[in-house]
Symmetry: C2
Subunit: 416 residues, 2 copies
């Protein structure tokens, strides 16, 4: 298994973003050498010298990694607190049985010795090939070697260290205020294939110096995950390692806020949502082989959940995605995907738009349908699809990418 | 929209099968000209001079075609009986609103005039592009033109007339006996993409001269559909026109049998199951771009339904299917697909085999894992995957094909 050497996605942001500093966060990266034939960094170590309130959502996969098991359990400890985060790429530590548990034990023990904390203060993640045993002390040894270099975050290095088939480093940041004090948010993410979030997806870490309790951090990350990460899909495949975590250090000062709906958090809520949406869409923009970003807006469904299911049925349809790859305004395949969703749809009042052009109305082709206008609407880097299910007031927006020959090539060539 | 000119699937049977005669069935084919630039036959007209007992299962899509609506309703009429079947390719008559209903009205009226029967004795189907209005009398005119040529079935012409992106004509037949009388079964099918059956798939017609009541025909077609068509997938997309029907003419003689479990039908049940399985697998063998047929056998699930869901999760995973396309023994993706299925799985006793080689055992890579043996097992035209979920006694077998660049090419080039 080598590192991938894929061209950068044409949908990638022009450059790595400018990001704020986040108080209370130190980090460093290191090369464990899990990718043969390259010296790339594949280990990220984050230290919270004064701790952080953690919140997290994880894959619902029943074959989830030992790291996911560890984090879920650590978040349930009586005095939940984060002191460190250790993430490696190159091996997912999923489906590795006892060896996976031993790797985690050795890694947390190393951090406990270095940071002087409880093992439940250490959060872990791993991404890469599934089912390959990893020597138990490989990551622990790396953490010990890397630890002295901890310091001011280099976010770009951090985002690069957790990449697998990603063609670009993903990060997003924002600044807001709480009671007049500046508060910063930075998130990093990885993900390109095996993307169909269910509670969370891929590896994603958001850091803020806002003073949040662990319960508030948990409530906020879950709420905005549901509107962002849980609304994207590249290929309908759900990872065994999906993790989205928020760490709130409180270094901005001010009293700890316990209620996620506290009016003082209004700015933070808006910006956190924006950062998560930006990261989630970067993952879709880096979808394996992607050439178009597709935004699917469903209205008129029985309820919001039904709208999400209909949107996902369209977003996961190989026939819709291959038509989009070809720039073919094949709206009949949208009809098919809506029909197979299992949700209540009023066929004879169903309406569909490509961009602003209505292609279907009242259960048939729209009277003013124009093949030229419909084709134009699916020819760019961003394609907008809108569906009115004709039943109720439920709505949702789901994002995906097209399915190109590149996806097949990448996934036949790389054992990820 | 032109006819496809794709090379024949490498998984196709060597030749069109030898088929028995089925008493009480006349048919002919005709060129409506729905495929521009070709003179291929695209209309199939079947006549049952003495009628037939019909049974059918149909797509569960909420955007199903007007033809599916018609057949479902005709099967509910008080004295259900078939006198004719009219199938066109080149236009699915789905999502065509009032125009779709008018096409059906004109077509049944034409048959009523020619055959001297009730309109509810006429069964209809259409396949091809979705959402393109079809002039209402186009098919009716074709039926009138074709009717005088009705005669002894040419099954190969019939199977060819209903093809869309299919690269070969699909048929299967068998002979058995009931109380010493020879009974014949012949089925024809079409399907290559938009294949993820849910109650039925694609267009599939089975004819027998066995003397069955309509209720027995209905019970038998539903039972074996569930074990064959409902266990295949090419691309997880469910068609708006899925139809599987059985017509039993009774021309073999003998008294009508009303109980599907009547001991006299034992031979017929076995052969009908075999014919349906053969047809269903021919559809997978003609999966768009397919180079390998993949048989997924799930055991040890909570129940048979859970086993089916786990099997479908594997069979529909783009990451599993692209790895198979590359002949990559990437069993970690099987672990992922099992994990995302939503069914109960005992991760730490999960076991997986490729062919006869065990690749995973007790929730980790099998001790005797051999990359060479695993690769060998996924390198041929037939790949067998076996999963033991480690929970109970439920089992199921599901069939699919690999996902190649050919699938993307075909579905970007052809508006089907």
């Amino acid at each position: 298994m080598g590192v991938t050497n894929l061209p950068v996605s044409p949908l990638a942001p022009k450059s790595f973003p400018e990001l704020p500093e986040v108080g209370g966060v130190e980090l460093t990266t290191f090369a464990l050498g899990l990718y043969s034939g390259t010296s790339r960094d594949d280990l990220l170590v984050v230290h919270f010298p004064n701790g952080a309130a953690p919140g997290g959502v994880f894959t619902t996969s029943s074959t989830r990694s030992a790291d996911v098991d560890w984090c879920r359990s650590a978040l349930k400890s009586s005095e939940v607190r984060a002191r460190a985060l250790v993430v490696n790429a190159g091996n997912s530590n999923a489906f590795t049985g006892q060896a996976g548990i031993e790797k985690n034990r050795a890694t947390t023990a190393a951090v406990v010795g270095l940071a002087g904390c409880l093992d439940t203060n250490v959060f872990l993640a791993a991404t890469g090939v599934i089912g390959e045993p990893l020597p138990p002390t490989r990551v622990a040894d790396g953490v010990r070697a890397a630890w002295p270099a901890l310091g001011m975050p280099n976010w770009e290095k951090a985002a690069n260290a957790i990449r697998t088939t990603d063609t670009f480093a993903k990060a997003s940041g924002a600044t807001t205020e709480i009671e007049g004090r500046a508060v910063n948010i930075v998130g990093i993410a990885k993900g390109s294939g095996m993307i169909a979030p269910n509670m969370a997806t891929t590896l994603n870490y958001v850091f803020t110096d806002a003073p949040l309790s662990a319960k508030a951090a948990q409530a906020l990350i879950a709420r905005y995950c549901d509107l962002t990460y849980n609304c994207i899909t590249v290929d309908s495949d759900t990872s065994t390692s999906d993790t989205l975590m928020l760490f709130a250090t409180g270094a901005s000062g001010g009293e700890t806020i316990y209620d996620p709906d506290d009016p003082r958090l209004e700015g933070l809520r808006t910006k956190l949502h924006a950062v998560l949406k930006d990261l989630a869409l970067q993952i879709v923009r880096d979808g394996e082989g992607a050439r178009r970003l597709i935004e699917i807006n469903v209205i008129g469904a029985a309820d919001d959940h039904a709208a999400r299911v209909i949107g996902a049925s369209i977003a996961n349809s190989p026939l819709v995605k291959t038509a989009m790859a070809a720039g073919d305004a094949n709206w009949g395949r949208i009809v098919m995907a809506v029909g197979k969703s299992g949700e209540v749809v009023e066929r004879d009042s169903l309406a569909i738009w490509f961009g602003d052009h209505q292609v279907a109305k009242d259960g048939a082709r729209a009277p003013d349908y124009s093949e030229a206008k419909a084709s134009q609407a699916v020819s760019g880097e961003l394609v907008r699809v809108r569906v009115d299910a004709g039943v109720g007031d439920g709505q949702a927006t789901v994002w995906t990418c097209d399915l190109t020959e590149g996806y097949v090539k990448i996934n036949g060539a790389y054992r990820s």
